[in-house]
């Protein structure tokens, strides 16, 4: 199963390679990984999405917690969370197909961010499923290039 881990780390040199090394050294797979600073100085937040059986995920979480530079690890799969990913797709768009592509863009509430004679670049944000869905839909027009950020995620506020 796919798990999204929210990992808070000390923002210092080498912290990313410690985390990544842990995955590669143990043969765990990273599907996507995202790092950026938080509001707190010296602290960064990572979102790691990975796929594996429960026992593997349990090991990953424990191993991450064991790293001295890791402050906190939450498996978001066990919580209500919000998760988003952004992707930019460059799609073949000759005149005949352009209208249809734009209709899809509209339905998915994407944004066109670049246009040329025969291409459209489309920005899309959403959860993993939505990104997969639009990639699927647009692939029949021919996707020339794709850039994805991987997931960013956080736990939802407590709902009363």
């Amino acid at each position: 199963m796919r798990h999204t881990l929210s990992v808070t780390v000390e923002n210092e040199p080498g912290v990313l390679s410690r985390v990544v090394g842990l995955f590669s050294g143990r043969g765990f797979n990273i599907e996507s990984l995202n790092v950026a600073p938080t509001l707190e100085e010296g602290v960064s937040h990572m979102t790691i999405s990975t796929i594996g059986e429960e026992q593997i995920i349990e090991q990953i979480v424990k191993q991450l917690r064991k790293l001295v530079t890791v402050i906190k690890v939450v498996d978001l799969t066990e919580h209500k969370s919000v998760e988003r990913e952004m992707a930019i797709l460059k799609v073949n768009a000759e005149d005949a197909k352009r209208a249809e592509i734009l209709r899809i863009v509209d339905i998915f509430r994407c944004k066109v961010v670049d246009v040329s004679v025969d291409e459209l670049s489309i920005e899309i944000t959403g959860d993993n499923g939505k990104i997969e869905a639009i990639i699927n839909l647009l692939s029949r027009f021919g996707i020339k290039e794709i850039a994805r950020t991987g997931s960013v995620a956080m736990k939802r506020a407590l709902q009363i």
């Binding site: 780390v9 000390e10 040199p13 080498g14 390679s17 410690r18 090394g21 050294g25 026992q55 349990e58 090991q59 424990k62 191993q63 917690r65 064991k66 790293l67 001295v68 530079t69 890791v70 402050i71 906190k72």
Partner: protein, 563 residues
Amino acid sequence: MELTGAQIFLECLKKEGVDVVFGFPGGAVIDIYDELPNYPFKHILVRHEQGAIHAADGYARATGDVGVCLVTSGPGATNTVTGIATAYMDSIPVVIFTGQVPTPLIGNDAFQEVDIVGITRPCTKHNYLVKDIKDLAFTVRQAFYLARTGRPGPVLVDLPKDIMQQKFEFVWPEDVSLRSYNPNLKPHTRQIKKVAKLIEKAERPLIYAGGGVISSGAEDELTWLAKSLNIPVTATLMGLGAFPGNDPLWLGMLGMHGTYAANMAINNADLVLAIGARFDDRVTGKVSTFAPKATLVHIDIDPTSIQKNVAVHVPLVADCKSALSALKSEMELKSKSIDWEVSHAVWVRQVQEWSEIHPLRYKKGSKFIKPQFVVEKVYEISNGDAIIATEVGQNQMWAAQFYKFKRSKSFLSSGGLGTMGYGFPAAIGAQMAFPDKLVVNIAGDGSIQMNIQEMMTAVCNNLPVKIVILNNGYLGMVRQWQELFYNRNYCETCMDAQPDFVKLAEAYGAAGFRVTEEKDVEPVLKEAFALNKPVIVDVRVDPEENVYPMVPAGASLTDMLLV
């Protein structure tokens, strides 16, 4: 007052109570060496950096304190990697200080530059590059703190040369706290009660002890539990000595070269208390058939050890000593109404019967000296009071099987990594800590050649380490596998071209003996042990003797090949 980085570094070691540093100088650490004579601790100059790290490791295993090693940048640093990995696998507290090129040159492929922090990331508990002199004291403090607390392990600190030369106010940080590092020491009360209940109900309980018992100092608690509750004990290689090897409840080691009794006991137990052990594949054999009838309780300070290889029923994350003393209190209450002598009598009798049917043994009466016989003699002559370091291979297994370790920290052996060349420098480290004790390195003729250069270190420092080579002329353990599983294709394992070990010892200024007849084993060992200098005893043993019992890799523990 302002001090140089080198002085601050050495002040820190003083504050940490370091009394010996094993090291080897070089350009990047010359500033430290320049100051060294002004400090009270002893520096042991080794002949190869691998010797320094193993010696620091041996010192740590024998004393329970942190071992310290100091080497230069580049090749000096990389020469320690095997030793760091060795300490990491066995959770040994050592701090390694490596020199580094000056900070402005880092990353420029400077002379003798290597990214040792990058190289050792996967085999240290943590590591640091000190980039600013104001972090120096704090970093050294943290390194020692990390190495010795929680699950112990090696910590490396990389020290750039310019930082050692800069000046700064020395302030010793009294407190260390790291927000992200809080090892869980105290056991969960409910889990302890659960374990106590399980012990109460169990008919065939078994204790399986590992190195964690020794590193947390829980030997007394363990021994109390076993003896008061009448529970038999087995241990991993790392756990040898945690429970007295001459006690009737002692079954011997379990696993690939474990005893028949220990492996049968695991197979039949209804409750296994795994304490500070990590279910290594050399211990479990085929995982799916390990302890098939037992409820598994696993006490370990490191949560990652739990459920890693084997699904356990009752996990308990805690320091072994606190967990066992909590358990002891619980059991003391129960002991008022239960007679453990009676309740486990049938089981203990059964287990002892297994020990009687298939004790550790070897075939006698051949024309060759049997290596097991040599180990037995080492045990007898030393009265079981020696510190034994081993190399890796058959020599290691025979030492583990035939020397009955009566107390912990008396068996120094590379368990997790299986590092040939470990034993001799480790013995030097232990002898440094205990100058008056008998320290014996039980070696193979292959392994001893991996760090024999440390003989000079032993001689220079009057360290009377005894090396007993069980010389079979083969890389014996590999030859054994070739014999049993590779159709006797002894490819590249015959090592009968070897130096004259007696002359080699003498060349270094040590003493050397050769033994070729069984009747000479005892008198020569006695003479060697009585000498106050390093000695090599080259014992020519049966070239094709094997280690038994043996569970083939990946087989169930009950599928033992016996003598």
